[in-house]
Amino acid sequence: MIEKASMNEIMKESPSKEETSFSSFVVDVRNLAKRYGDFAAVNDLTLQVKKGEIFGFLGHNGAGKTTTINMLTTLLEPSSGSGKVAGYDIINESLEVRRRIGYLPENVQFYDSMTAYENLEYFAKLSGIKKPDSQIWEVLDFLDARSYADKKISALSKGMRQRIGIAQAIIHEPEILFLDEPTTGLDPFGVKQLRDIILRLNSQKGITIFMNTHLLQEVTKTCSTIGVLNHGSLIYLDSLSNTMKRFKDEGSLEDIYLNIENNEEE
C-alpha cells in the first residue's frame, strides 16, 4: 500500500514524456480508421491538434470529415486505431471526453416545440449543470442572441438556429469545440458573423476549435492549421503561415486543392 502511494507521488512529480506530449494536444489520434464493409470512409488517420489552435479540416463531399468528427466526439466507434480527445480515450472513456467537448452538427436541429431557452436548459442539464439559468444568459449575451431566448425553434431562421447551436455546444465551457460545416446555408453576412464568433471563442474563452469545411477561403480566413482529407486519407497537414509561404497566394493553394481532387477522382 505504502509503496503504491509513493509510486503515485513520484509519478505525479515527474510525468513521463508521453504524458507531457499528450497534454499539449487536445486531439491526438493514431491510425484511426472507419470501414463500412470494404469501403474505407476514413483511412489510417494520424493527427494531432494543439491546445488553442483553430484547426481547419478540409475535404471534398464524402471525404470522411463527418465520419472523423463522429469518431472524435465518441458518437461512432472506430474500426481500428486509437485516440484521445481532451486527454481521454475516445473508445474507453467516452463520457469523460463528452464532458470536455462541444459539438455543433451539420444542419443543427432542436426540439421544435420548445423555445430556444428550453432547449438550452435541457442540454445544459445533460451536461451536468444543475441550475443553468445564469450560464444560458451569459452565452446568449456572448453570441448576441438574447432576444431569441423565448422564441420557438421553429420560428428561428437558419442563422439564429446556428447561434443557438453554438450556445448549446459552449454552455458547459468545453476544452474543444467541433464544428461540422458551420457555414452551410448562411449568407455572406452570417458567415462573417460566425467567423467572428469562432475567433472570439478561441481568443476570449481559449477554446480549441476543430472545424470541418469544404470551402478553402473559410479555412484561410479563420484557421491556424490546415488538414486536407481526400477519400478518407489525410494528404496535407501544416500551419496556415507555412501553407501561405509555400503556396504564396490563395489562388495557387486552391489550384493544388482542386488538382488533388481531380487527380484522385480520375
Partner: protein, 310 residues
Amino acid sequence: MLSFSIAKNEIRHLLRERTFFLILSVFILITLASTYIGWSSQHTIESVYQESAILLTAAGQNVPPSPFSNLPTLDIVKNMIIYIVLIGSLLAITVGHSIGTKDQKAGVVRILFSKPVTKKDVLIGKVTSLMLVLFAIMIVSLGISIASIAMLSEIHSAMFLQLIGFYGISFLYILGFGLLGLAFGLMKRESATALLIPVIIWIVITFALPEMGSALYPTSSLNPILPQTNILDSPVLSTIHNILYPFSISEHYKLLSSAILALQGTESVVSVTYSPIMNMFILTIWLILTLAVSIYAMSKFDISRGDVYE
C-alpha cells in the same frame, strides 16, 4: 438524475403534442361512455322488468327474479375491459412511439449523445416517462369510474380495491404495448414502419390469437364474459387452442380483469383455462419480454445517425 431530466423532457414534449391530447380525450370519453352504457342498459332492462313484474302480479302470475338481482354493481364497468384491450393499448403504442422517435424526428440524436449521457440514462428516462404518462391516464380513468359508479349506484370500500386492482392490471397490460411502441420507434428509421410493427403485434394479440385460441368464436375476442359453448370437440382445433392459448395475452388480461372485478359468466368452457395466478404470471412475462425488446432496441440504436428521418 440525468434520467430524471430526460423523463421530464419527454413528458413536456408529449404534453405539447396535439395527437396525444386527441387520443387521451377519446379515451376519457370512452371511459365515461362505457360506464354510462353499462348503467343505462342495466337500467333499461331493470325498468322493463319492473313493468312486466307489475303486469304479472296484476295477472296473478309468479314473478321471476330480476335478471340483475344477482349481478355485482361493478358489472357496469365491464365494458372498460374491452376498451382497454382495443383503445387503451393503441393509445399506449402511440405514446411509446412518440417517446421512441422524438429525438430522431427532432434531429437531435447527435447533440444528445455528445453530452455525457449513456444509452442507459436515455432508456431509463424514456421508460420512466412512458410509465408516468400511462399511469396518469389509468388514474384519470379510475377516478372517472369511481365517480360515475358513486353517482349511478352506491359504492363501497371493497369496490375501490377491485377497481384499483383492475386499473393496476390494465396499466401493466398497456405498458407492454407502450414499450413495444418505444422499442420499434428506436429501431426503425421510418416512422410508418416503426408504428406499423407494434400495431400488427397488437392486432395479433387482440384479434388473431384469441380467435384461434379460444374457440374460434368470432365474438369471443370482444366479449370477456360471453358464456362459451364448447365447439372445441374437434381435436385439431383443440390442439391449436392448447398451443396458442398461453400466448393469448389479451385473453389472460380479460380473464384476470373479470376475476378481479368479480364479474359473472367468466367461467370459460374451453378445454384449457388457467388460474388467475397463471394469468398474472403470463402478463408479467409479457412485460419482461417487451422491456427486453426495448433494451435490445436501445443497444442497437445508432447514436451517430444524422437528421434523416421519415
